[in-house]
Symmetry: C2
Subunit: 272 residues, 2 copies
DNA sequence: CGGGCGTTTGAATCAAATCAATTGGAGTGG
DNA sequence: CCACTCCAATTGATTTGATTCAAACGCCCG
């Protein structure tokens, strides 16, 4: 099984590109019969829920249950389907010919995956579950034929693509303009905000990623991430759970933003 | 780290989001068609040319001549129009509330601009011309109504968005995984490739950006960019024109890729 | 209980940023 | 035409933030 731990320190030996293993992709392929209405819907969580409902009602996407480490799709595979995350968390990883690997995106409930495959007819990245979850596969050609009857689906698709572009740009801004500690803080803020938008609690979050994966995503080493987290715990901007450094409390998300600001501001400005 | 010319921030005027798709597409029949042969890139800009022709013929976009420094649109402005570049070069700049500025994309002939505005109804970045050029403004609602009669336009839009996502990810990979010198080399490779795809010569290119702008785009200082370029000139991977360090010759683009490879490989691998 | 990961922390090193000085063109105006 | 300014670019010296190297700890699981 291809796990994530070797991302940061992996030797740059190109991994052999296996023919798409059904074994790896093996997740139950079932039909969706009922939408879990369990999740809290406040604010934009409502929009996500209704888009999912629309997708479900109109296209009856094939549902797949995945567990941490499962590959949803692989770079190089022929593009037929877009994937929509109903629950769980997925990382999108881009690999280069020379063996570098980069986590380029993190996806949550309601997010679309595989959009980069539209232009080239082939996926450009791997999508890997970081958690148990449910992924819906939507045939792109079915989606295209549905627009006439259900223009809201076109709106949803364009919205998803547009937001992906925006998010990727924010990622770039963070990586290019922030020092290590601020980058990590901004990452936590992003995670918290992603939870918040989906109506989940933000004060108690469980990181589904190793320090190495976070570091990879942020362009840092795992040690730098660890140090940054430790320092933020020291000044009470975050707190670790008693056991396990994987789940942490964020008493006040605004404190994270404030910290990022402080990192960016020259001290002359602080005087005011 | 800041670009030389400071962009004055426009006041972000929130705009109501329009349910365009529902209104205009209701009842229309959109057929999914195979990618027209003409749109398949043959390396000489045919695909770009025919998409531009289609856009021109169907939508009669308003054309605008711009010069270096002109703003095509601003972050915070209400989103009505997508912009398509017929000629010239444009940088897309994202500004943060605390005054950081980041060049997040570079656009060339055939590229679409303003796609990040679709989701929020407001542009997320500034688009600024770096060169004289011609920009076509396409009303998004007009574009949406055109899909029924001209499904190729839908294909083109989706292709543009998909490619934008892909390109932004490549940018991220370069920034996160490459050392400074390799990043600059990869940037030159990207520029050369962008020219090549559009049927322009790649051996003699004129940078329309200052070292500071390049550095900003790559997450480096202007000094690091300058040093990297000087070193590359020293080992004959590039050459400067007699006068003006802005235009340079790239005798062999593959030498740039090879250099990037060498930066990434540990010397142990080179032994083989 | 012991092995394997993931994580933390310290010390040393290094790559890139910062600071600083100089050069080189482009444009302006006497 | 030259002197002058302004800005971009280069290059060197120094500093620094992040990486690398290394050791130890904690947790999960067979």
């Amino acid at each position: 099984m291809l796990t994530a731990q070797t991302l940061q320190n992996s030797s740059p030996v190109p991994a052999p590109r296996l023919p798409i293993a059904e074994a790896v992709l093996a997740g139950a392929t079932v039909r969706v019969e009922r939408l879990p209405e369990a999740l809290v819907d406040d604010g934009h969580g409502q929009a996500i829920a209704s888009t999912l409902k629309l997708l479900h009602d109109v296209l009856q996407p094939t549902r797949r249950l995945v567990r941490a480490g499962d590959l949803l799709y692989r770079a190089g595979e022929r593009f037929d389907c877009l994937h929509v995350l109903n629950s769980g968390m997925v990382k999108v990883v881009k690999s280069t010919a020379d063996g570098r690997e980069q986590v380029v995106a993190l996806k949550f409930r309601g997010d679309w995956l595989g959009l980069d495959g539209i232009a080239h007819g082939v996926y450009g990245c791997d999508g890997m579950a970081m958690d148990t979850g449910e992924v819906w596969a939507v045939r792109y050609d079915h989606l295209m034929t549905s627009f006439a009857q259900h223009p809201a689906l076109l709106t949803a698709l364009h919205g998803a693509m547009s937001m992906e572009i925006s998010r990727e740009r924010e990622s770039l801004v963070s990586i290019c303009t922030l020092p290590a500690d601020a980058r990590v803080a901004d990452f936590l803020r992003f995670i918290a905000e992603s939870m918040s938008v989906r109506g989940m609690r933000t004060d108690q979050i469980t990181l589904r990623m190793t320090r190495a994966e976070i570091g990879n995503y942020l362009g840092l080493t795992l040690e730098s991430v660890s140090r940054a987290l430790s320092r933020r715990a020291r000044d009470n901007i975050i707190a670790f759970a008693e056991k396990g450094r994987r789940e942490l409390r964020i008493p006040d998300v605004r404190a994270l933003s404030a910290f990022v600001q402080r990192c960016v501001m020259p001290e002359s400005v602080i005087l005011q």
